[in-house]
Amino acid sequence: MDKQTQDVLEILEQNAKATPEEISELTRIPPAEVLEMIRTLEAAGVIRSYKTIIDWDLVENPYVYAFVQLKVSLERGHGYQKIADRICKFTEVRSLRLLSGEDYDLEFIIKGKTMKDVAFFVADKIATLPQVQNTSTHFILKTYKEDGVIMEEREEYKRLPVSP
């Protein structure tokens, strides 16, 4: 990766809303060129999406989230892909990963309006899939850090205003 690409990606990683003009101010790459670079990176799938991290606990109707771990049996010729494709299609499923280790194979995060919604979704839609041997659902009680962002604001250490 060249230095300019690294700069553009790091700036967007810190702030997905950074405009080509703002990126240009930090890199001296002309805005039109920045735009072109971003389009290329998007087309290549390097930039997947622009996400907003929201603290839902601060708004009126908080959602509930849960981790769900699955032990699955594999079908010949398909590996994990077929079951993964199927689970990915549910909009309730926010992320899905394949895990190493013996206990579980797949893990996903699910979002629902109530604990009951989530519990029934897992029982009705996931546990009933033929490949799924067993499930383990853990409701998330509090999020301390999300995608590198610490949710709870602490008082920062104040630097001296002037130093040599």
């Binding site: 790091e10 930090l26 630097r159 205003p161 130093s163």
Partner: protein
């Protein structure tokens, strides 16, 4: 408008008990100038919306893995003295780093001394080589500690001026013109506080023959070494024939955001290290063990995070330099450290007038270049060790202020 005090007389403690303390304090102490940045420190207190471009330390916190290692060491009960030279493992890591990055060989047993920050390293290096009357050359604009340290050691500071036209580099002609039979050493400081200037290998190669011809020692304060943005840093000791004559100072404060942990080191020929060790063992004994353990972790596992911090500094550098130039405040392109040194000559104000008025009007702290000596006249030192948002906001306030002039 915030009121700024007119001058900064050194504060003398009020005599409350009948003793005349001034008679106990050495004559030398009375010749040490007060640090000119002190007043900005005082006036900023209690004002809410202050943006400070006056800070000489990174705004990043020490990376967590380093802090975690320090905490672990405390839990483990590692709270004793270390070898006077510093933990051997730390010296070995420092030695490896210089070997890897610069192919320079420093023997961890004899040629490396770990100090309590580069400030101590500077103090003991100057003290160990200065006889009364020895002349020590410093480059102006000058980091605030060099001249007082030389005076306290009984030496005479001699100034070599640099200017923006030469990108604040020391030229061989200027340097040689200041050398007398009494000259003992030259203090270099590149990347440079306060201008952000750097000296390249080719620049150093021009002054090395003069150092050799006049049989001088160089104290090279390279604490901003990692913050070199265009091209690679050259340690002064990497110049042919200079390793034998160089006392190289470096530390962890800037590169690993460890200012308050106070950890520095000296690389030098073993005879000089032994001499500095004599002072160090009596005045400091050893650098704090917690910081030393953090330093080992920093050198072993800290490079990725350090480099990411430096890429962020580089982007802010572009933002602020281009910002000043757009506002008509000519700004020399700094290639190292985290300082800019824009010229405010076009406003007709002196650096101190500008800094004072600007603070009163817009609550932005900048440091007048004259604090670093006469050759800083007409310039401000503005650090970009602050967030991009603050830099943008400060630039807006500069614009606002300039409109009113």
């Amino acid at each position: 408008m915030t009121q700024i005090p007119k001058s900064t007389p050194r504060k003398v403690d009020q005599n409350t008990n009948g003793l005349d303390y001034s008679k106990y304090i050495t004559h030398k102490m009375k010749t040490i100038p007060a640090s000119g940045i002190r007043k900005y420190f005082d006036i900023a207190a209690g004002i809410e919306d202050v943006i400070s471009l006056g800070v000489g330390e990174p705004d990043f916190v020490t990376p967590w893995h380093i802090r975690e290692m320090c905490i672990h060491s405390l839990e483990n009960g590692d709270t004793g003295y270390t070898s006077n030279y510093g933990l051997l493992e730390l010296r070995e890591e420092i030695s490896k780093r210089y070997k890897r990055d610069y192919r320079l060989d420093y023997d961890p047993q004899k040629e490396i001394l770990v100090t309590t920050g580069v400030s101590e390293a500077l103090d003991i290096s100057i003290r160990s080589i200065t006889n009364p009357g020895d002349e020590i050359i410093v480059v102006q604009p000058t980091y605030v500690a060099y001249i007082p340290e030389i005076i306290l050691s009984g030496g005479t500071p001699v100034i070599v001026k640099t200017c923006v036209e030469n990108e604040f580099k020391v030229t061989p002609e200027e340097l040689e013109s200041k050398i007398t039979p009494k000259t003992k050493a030259v203090v270099l400081n590149y990347p440079h506080n306060p201008t952000g200037a750097v000296m390249t290998r080719a620049d150093y190669e021009k002054i090395a023959p003069i150092i050799e011809k006049h049989d001088l020692i160089v104290i090279s304060d390279e604490v901003y070494e990692c913050m070199t943005y265009d091209g690679a840093h050259t340690p002064f000791s990497d110049i042919d024939g200079m390793k034998e004559r160089t006392i190289l100072l470096n530390g962890f404060s800037k590169s690993y955001a460890m200012t308050g942990l106070r950890l520095g080191y000296i690389l030098a020929p073993s005879e000089l290290i032994s001499a500095m060790m004599m002072i160090h063992q009596y005045c400091m004994l050893s650098a704090p063990i917690t910081a030393q353990i953090g330093g080992i972790e920093a050198l072993k596992n800290g490079e990725d995070e350090m480099k990411s911090m430096i890429r962020e500094f580089n982007r802010r550098r572009v933002l602020i330099v281009d910002g000043f130039n757009r506002l008509g405040l000519d700004c020399f392109e700094p290639k190292g450290a985290f300082y800019t040194f824009p010229s405010i000559k076009s406003t007709g104000l002196t650096a101190e007038e500008f800094a004072d008025k600007f603070f009163s009007d817009q609550h932005v702290i900048t440091i007048p270049g004259t604090i670093f000596g006469e050759s800083g006249a007409g310039h401000l030192r503005c650090a970009y060790a602050t967030s991009k948002e603050d830099i943008k906001n400060a630039l807006d306030r500069f614009e606002e202020f300039l409109k009113k002039l």
